[in-house]
Symmetry: C2
Subunit: 331 residues, 2 copies
């Protein structure tokens, strides 16, 4: 299989769009040797995140390949945004059941568009025969000590979110044509589909949060589950006011109960969730003026866990908080 692998990689992934999507000055050696070489300035730290996406678990088997290529990279890059990092490079380990040229062309095209959108270069990877599986590792840089970690939230901080919640889950419903409200205009359907197919990692906002936010991450598992990650890592309690959760115009076509469920537990929103010291509150208006839809949705307190107010006062959560990945029917 080794020779097939090389042929595949050569034809579909060794393209200028993928290898030189961004300034390559940090890349001392890209694809083609035993490993790649990155060269960072001394005041920078390297940020590393690895994700794997399996057909039937993280996405449907029949997912359109161009959208899959885009989305796989976007989701991985969102972890760089969540660390306040600037993207540098990525690797791709692709397992495919067979050499399907139209599939590979479309996948590579979607991947290239994402690589350009996020200014990140492909520096290595491999391709093997097997069940459809994408392993994406992303590398970024952040000035030393300025990464946005999960463990710095303090009592008195504000809890903020960088954009509307629930669109990822609603987008999946639109894509799957599942209970789409008759009143949802086409433009809203398009918007939600794009939010699902092409998540936009909040890289610029992440970089603005350097040295300002006390903790942060990207909402991938669902607001409540991800809030709990911050609460646990920081040793604090997070209070969330359901009435303050930001919803897109498209989301409000659904029944209120469904909206709330998706905003709280739907995954795949890829907006940043972060905590701000009270002194930084004036920045929120500046960020909003610069096009970042930041909302305050709660506050940080001594204690532990996530407490939610749905109109009857703050109460601790119970039961399932998290997002269930898309699953195959036999799962």
């Amino acid at each position: 299989m080794a020779l097939d692998e090389f042929a595949l990689i050569g034809r579909y992934f060794r393209t200028a769009e993928l290898e030189r999507a961004a300034d390559p000055s940090a890349i001392a050696l890209g694809i083609g040797d035993d490993a790649a070489l990155l060269q960072l300035a001394a005041d920078q730290q390297l940020v590393i995140s690895t994700d794997s996406l399996l057909a039937g678990v993280h996405f449907p088997e029949q997912y359109p390949p161009a959208e899959l290529g885009y989305r796989a990279l976007a989701v991985a890059v969102s972890d760089l945004a969540a660390m306040a990092a600037t993207p540098l490079a990525f690797t791709l380990a692709l397992s495919l059941p067979k050499v399907d040229e139209p599939w590979l062309q479309a996948f590579s095209r979607g991947l290239s568009v994402a690589a350009r959108d996020f200014a990140i270069n492909l520096i290595g990877g491999d391709t093997t025969r097997g069940p459809l599986n994408l392993g994406v590792s992303v590398f970024g840089q952040v000035p030393r000590g300025q990464a946005l970690r999960r463990d710095g939230a303090r009592g008195g901080d504000l809890l903020c979110v960088g954009g509307p919640l629930g669109d990822g889950a609603a987008g999946l419903a639109v894509v799957q044509r599942r209970d789409v409200p008759a009143g949802l205009p086409l433009v809203g359907q398009d918007y939600l589909q794009q939010r699902f197919w092409r998540p936009q990692p909040q890289l610029a906002l992440g970089q603005l949060l350097r040295g300002v936010a006390t903790a942060g991450l990207d909402v991938s598992d669902g607001l409540l589950a991800d809030a709990e990650h911050i609460a646990r890592a920081s040793g604090v309690a997070l209070h969330i006011d359901a009435a303050r959760l930001p919803a897109s115009e498209a989301l409000v076509s659904w029944p209120e109960r469904q909206q709330l469920e998706w905003m709280l537990r739907g995954g795949d929103d890829y907006v940043l969730l972060f905590t701000l010291p009270p002194a930084a509150k004036p920045r929120i208006a500046q960020w909003c003026a610069a096009g970042h839809a930041v909302s305050v949705i709660g506050s940080v307190h001594a204690g532990d866990g996530v407490l939610l107010d749905v109109g009857k006062g703050y109460a601790p959560l119970s039961g399932e908080r998290g997002y269930q990945h898309f699953r195959s029917s036999d799962d």
Copy 2:
């Protein structure tokens, strides 16, 4: 699935053996956030390599999990040796058909032993439900400009190998109890099995080659296929003298024709193949005295491709050079 993933990672992979197998001074942040942070000195470059191993393609479905854990990391770390790098850290993306506790315990134990043997710390990863698949990314460092690339071989250089060839393929035959010669003593069987189960990346030799060897890689696809990688990247011809290929004592129990086939085309040896300028020849004796079994097996010339002398003069190769990965019967 998200919550299951965290539980899994927490129990089997968040161990001191895996997270602190080596000096963690370069690791500013390990497992548990959106990403890990590495901090390198300014005169160092980061070396990055990603491999994925699929059940039924790269290893049998029923592979013993402790051996699989060891081998998966060893094979990945061999790419660091092949770049003359010092290991720093690795990530693991594990896909598993079900939560099988004895399997996970044994796998984690094998992985831990390898992490300690190669002085490398686990800094991240994920676990999902799906066909058995291991994605390993390894990170190392090398002084700026001293990585062992494939593209520097020049006419007049010596072609060398860092240890015996063919043991990987012979080891697989022993493991599978396939045509094992009656005359092979038990100690030889044990040796070959270990060579297959627990490859030893030539990290120390790789580091000795910094600034000395002109090109190099690790023999994973088979000598001829890997020699061709150097020939192509460097724009030279490599001459290989079959009579000079080093074989272990255990290998010589097989018929000569089988030995030669395995030395030339067997994969999974993970010894270094490298080119040396003539002035560096005296170093070979020093390296051997220090316990590195380096042999000269050929030479570098103007031209292209790999030419092999099996006793009738140098002739270009034709046909299949490479290693066929272990395949499932339906592949």
